[in-house]
Amino acid sequence: MIEVIAPGPYATVQDLGRPGFAHLGVPGSGAADAASMRLANRLVGNPEGLAGIELTFGSARLRFLIGAWAALAGAPVPAGPVRGAGMGAPFWVPAGAELRLGAPSRGLRTYLAVRGGIAVPPVLGSRSTDSLSGLGPEPLRAGTRLPVGPAEGGLVADYAPLPELGPAVLRVLPGPRDDWFVPAALAELCAAPYVVTQDSNRVGVRLRGPELVRARQGELPSEGMVTGAVQVPPSGQPIVFLADHPPTGGYPVIAVLRAADLAVAAQLRPGDEVRFTLQRSR
């Protein structure tokens, strides 16, 4: 069992989400930066799909009521006072110890994996908190107690260099609805940086920058949306859909992120600048 003393600004349990239910109106959910969640799991010898904790802006305090191996990945945060606690390598948290995590120096979301995984009851096959629909466990609060599952497989003590969080560049593939915009709109999207706004969350990264002008007016009939879609509401200011995006939407999607760049988008914090770069579809 792990007891939350303080969750920081926003913290949830996340695994790799609940794919397969979009046709019933269920968001995919899961870790916003799934690559970091997978990495943290691998570092403690877990299968990649076990649940961990996704911290937003770090700043959490957790008491381990049992001793457990743990690992941190994603946005780098200072960790202590547990001996050896740090990013990108497994460390042992003794029973009764408190793990304190500070604010990230860069990036937004930090992932804590615990050997055995966070074992809250799954909902539709996933332990993820879906911030849009309310499925899954409540966001963490002071006093939340999280069960830890049984460990399987061997622990491979390892060290993973953390990916650089450099200037954010998001590679996009055009479509499916680039033809709803003026021909220059894709070039416009990639011409100048956008700024991440305060109202960004697990649903999407909301951006402010050059307006993307539509060629077609009128309403797009509701259609399925993928994670990483760059959706453009009537304001012309794009939104990059993250894990908790609605499975269907009625605003045209001008382009979609390369899958590998979802992790980059998920680490953007309000005020960050981000650039898009166009890749032609295969």
């Binding site: 794919p19 397969g20 239910f21 979009a22 046709h23 019933l24 109106g25 269920v26 995919g28 909902v123 539709l124 629909s133 309310g134 499925l135 593939l173 055009p174 479509g175 499916p176 609805r177 009939p221 509701s222 259609e223 399925g224 949306m225 993928v226 990483g228 879609a229 609605p246 499975p247 269907t248 999607v253 979609v256 992120l257 390369r258 899958a259 579809s281 295969r282």
Partner: protein, 211 residues
């Protein structure tokens, strides 16, 4: 002939099939669920499209496969369609909704007539969205096509049976909502412990009956 623009790219792992009609979306959805091409994890029908998501698959092969399915389902005669095979869900309704009388006024008919027309047609689940298990039911009697509330309610109870525009719906869980409430049902239309969690899926036929 399936032209390239009828199957649009939606990122590395997605393809958006343009069907142009809800009916064809349902046929393509049903065919893809039966046949489940390699690595497909999501099939999401909409009023004029079907989104197919297949991470890590061969997208060109999937594109060809989808073009085949689209051509085949489009060219089938409608009466050979799956309508007869689609499941029917009967929803018992207590017609005691707060908006029953205003809807009757807007429709220019009596309350009894509203109930008769709501129970008198067979609806079809168009697609689900807005919230898990929230099904947009198409085929509503045109007399009952009324606008949404000007100001949505902050909370509508689960099981509320409502209409808005050309659609009817059953609220799967409590949520804010601007649809006009005709009544309520005790039928649970969203249960995460059930498999499937909803009795509705795109194409399901639905009948309302007085409880």
């Amino acid at each position: 002939m399936i032209r390239p623009h009828m199957i649009r790219p939606a990122g590395e792992h997605g393809l958006l099939v343009e069907t142009g009609s809800l009916e064809l979306s349902h046929r393509v959805d049903a065919a893809l669920r039966r046949e489940r091409p390699d690595r497909v994890v999501e099939i999401v029908p909409g009023p004029g499209t079907v989104l197919v998501v297949a991470p890590g698959g061969d997208r060109e092969r999937l594109r060809e496969r989808l073009a085949d399915v689209l051509a085949r389902e489009r060219d089938r005669t409608p009466d050979a369609g799956p309508a007869g095979a689609a499941p029917v869900v009967t929803v018992p309704v207590v017609y005691d909704g707060a908006d029953l009388e205003p809807v009757a006024e807007l429709a220019g008919v009596g309350v009894d007539e509203v109930i008769a027309r709501h129970t008198g047609c067979e609806l079809v689940v168009g697609w689900l969205g807005f919230a898990p298990g929230f099904a947009y039911l198409t085929g509503l009697d045109p007399v009952l096509h009324v606008p949404r509330l000007g100001t949505p309610r902050t909370s509508v109870p689960a099981g509320s049976v409502a209409v808005a525009g050309p659609y009817s719906a059953v609220y799967p869980s409590a949520s804010p909502g601007g649809w006009r409430l005709l009544g309520h049902t005790t039928l649970r239309v969203w249960d995460v412990a059930a498999d499937p969690p909803s009795p509705f899926r795109p194409g399901t036929r639905v009948r309302f009956e007085p409880a």
